[in-house]
């Protein structure tokens, strides 16, 4: 204690050291190793891999896997937009009409998280399967045209996007709720007292004030959605595979480490670019503030 009293400035560092060292060794250093590996060449069955600044791994990876890359960002963007459309009115309703049931209603929102990720995705497999409720209803209503040429819902882009939307919806709804809940209802009343229509008051007062929640929710949904591979694997076919599927199989099944590592970095870089573009569109202060 005496030593600490004399060197008070040391206290915060002593508190930080264990956790930050953990993150440095098991988060930062691995990224370095991954970067090193992305520049290696060789093959899994021969002499192993050798580091030789193989920047062509990146261009090779892009030219081979650009369909999956594009698809990942497409699916993630659609799922994020859908999640926003589904959860904004819901969050609004809970925040302004929830009354003393707010916490209970929030519990409903996060309820899917209490079912293991894989199991709730498998539940979608059951729901959308050929003998499942959705397909039989569509068939009963003679709406087969909706299903397209093969009569399936499962194993289609629709199923994969629906699964992604479902799995990450709470990440969108919770920050939306938090930002909507903090809005002082008197501000909206004031706007209406000043003869703003309900729609106008929403567009000019409520929506701008909830923007931090929209931004946080969008990022929290988009980032994991772009890297996801479970939904594509369980609800789709190789024609719906995303970049996560490629990374996972290159790494774990084919042990083509350099390509998998390069793709990981490409994914991270593209997500970063997407975030920056998004921040530029909405204004950087709002993103960091």
């Amino acid at each position: 204690m005496g030593f600490l009293h004399r060197h008070k400035w040391l206290t915060p560092y002593l508190l930080l050291v264990p956790g930050l060292v953990w993150l440095a060794i098991f988060f930062l250093a691995p990224l370095g190793f991954l970067g090193y590996q992305s520049l290696e060449t060789g093959d899994a069955f021969g002499l192993g891999y050798e580091f030789n600044w193989a920047w062509h791994n990146f261009s090779d990876a892009i030219s081979t896997y650009h369909p999956q890359l594009i698809r990942s960002f497409e699916y993630a963007a659609i799922a994020t937009a859908l999640a926003l459309l589904l959860s904004y009115p819901l969050a609004y309703w809970i925040a302004f009409r929830g009354g003393r049931w707010k916490n209970l209603l929030l519990l409903f929102i996060i309820a899917p998280f209490f079912v293991t990720y894989l199991i709730r995705t498998l539940a979608w497999e059951t729901i959308l399967s050929d003998n499942g409720f959705v397909v039989t209803t569509i068939k009963h209503l003679h709406l087969l045209g909706v299903l397209g040429d093969n009569g399936h819902v499962l194993a289609s882009p629709t199923a994969v996007v629906a699964g992604i939307t479902y799995n990450f919806l709470p990440f969108m709804a919770l920050p939306l709720y938090v930002s909507l809940e903090q809005i002082d209802p008197r501000l909206i009343e004031a706007a209406e007292d000043l003869y703003a229509s309900k729609l106008h008051a929403f567009l000019r007062v409520t929506l701008p004030l909830s923007l931090p929640g929209v931004i946080a929710g969008t990022l929290l949904t988009f980032i994991p959605a772009a890297g996801d591979f479970i939904n594509a694997q369980l609800l789709g076919t190789p024609r719906q595979y995303m970049i996560g599927n490629v990374i996972q199989s290159r790494f774990l099944e084919i042990t083509d480490y350099p390509t998998a590592a390069a793709l990981s970095f490409i994914l991270m870089a593209l997500i970063l670019v997407a975030i920056l573009v998004y921040a530029r569109v909405l204004g950087t202060e709002k993103l960091t503030g």
Binding site: W22, F27, T116, A260
Partner: protein, 285 residues
């Protein structure tokens, strides 16, 4: 506000079309919300329902009839019990470790001004904003490169789980510490308690709810993780890995039993928490 809006149109007398329109406008948001809630809850209902299914073949996809056998015989599929035990062990110890490390970081960030704050905040934020698959792939690269130090198995999963839980603990505990009244600690010090005693007797009890929340969150994140664990598990099989393997050949209904059981335990815990909060806020009013 709404009561004024309700009274105003009454002066115009009853107009059926207008009142229908008003009814629709008043309730369209509620109806939409109920639909979204249904979307959120139907898959959960399916998981629970199919835990009572009596499938004839390999696939637990279509409803064949009600049975309690799966619940009575939850341990009837080989390998699943070991996977559950492993998941629980891992979740318990990684939650404790991550909560300890994360709480210390949160204390430093809220309590002290020091050089390197910005960097620390960034290092906390980055793991949360990286795709899981990248975290898993990079950790496996580290473990394979330094295979003379690390053997894939229990401890590498532990390392990974602590790594991705720390940031969430920091965020949770920080939120609580920011609203903390420091005068209470000063009072304790004025009354002659030293820093250690003050921390143990005053600070710790006050931030205990936040620490507990961090602990539960870490436990939940750990027990649910598939993507990262799949990279670093070696030959170990946690419950999510078991489900993944089972899904390829048709998951047995016992998987739904365990999924439902986890769901009910978590919901009961949260419900108790919500009820306590509701009672407390009622008392405060």
């Amino acid at each position: 506000m709404s009561s004024v809006a309700e009274q105003l149109p009454a002066r115009h007398g009853p107009r059926p079309l207008a009142s229908i329109w008003r009814f629709v406008r008043r309730h369209v948001l509620t109806a939409y919300s109920i639909l979204v809630f249904t979307y959120l809850l139907v898959p959960i209902a399916i998981v629970v329902l199919f835990s009572f299914n009596n499938p004839t073949g390999h696939f637990n996809y279509t409803w064949q009839g009600f049975t309690l056998d799966n619940w009575k015989n939850w341990d009837g599929v080989p390998g699943m019990r070991d996977a559950i035990v492993l998941s629980l062990e891992l979740a318990a110890i990684s939650a404790i470790a991550a909560t300890a490390l994360g709480t210390l970081i949160a204390l430093a960030l809220v309590r002290y001004r020091f050089r390197g704050r910005g960097g620390t905040n960034l290092l906390i934020f980055l793991p949360m904003s990286s795709p899981e698959i990248v975290l898993g792939a990079s950790l496996l690269t580290l473990f394979l490169t330094m295979s003379h130090v690390f053997t894939l198995g229990f401890w590498t999963i532990f390392i990974a789980h602590v790594m991705f839980c720390i940031s969430y603990v920091v965020v949770t505990v920080k939120a609580r510490l920011i609203g903390f009244d420091r005068h209470l600690e000063e009072a304790a010090m004025d009354l002659g308690a030293n820093e250690f005693v003050t921390f143990r007797k005053v600070t710790l009890p006050l931030i205990a709810p936040a620490i507990l929340a961090g602990l539960f969150l870490s436990f939940a994140l750990s027990i649910d993780d598939f993507v990262i664990t799949n990279f670093v598990a070696g030959s170990k099989v946690t419950f999510p890995l078991y489900v993944w393997g089972a899904a390829r050949v048709g998951a047995p209904p016992q998987v739904n039993v365990i999924g439902s059981a986890i769901f009910f335990v978590a919901v009961l815990a949260m419900l108790a928490n919500v009820l306590v909060q509701m009672r407390r806020s009622k008392g405060a009013n």
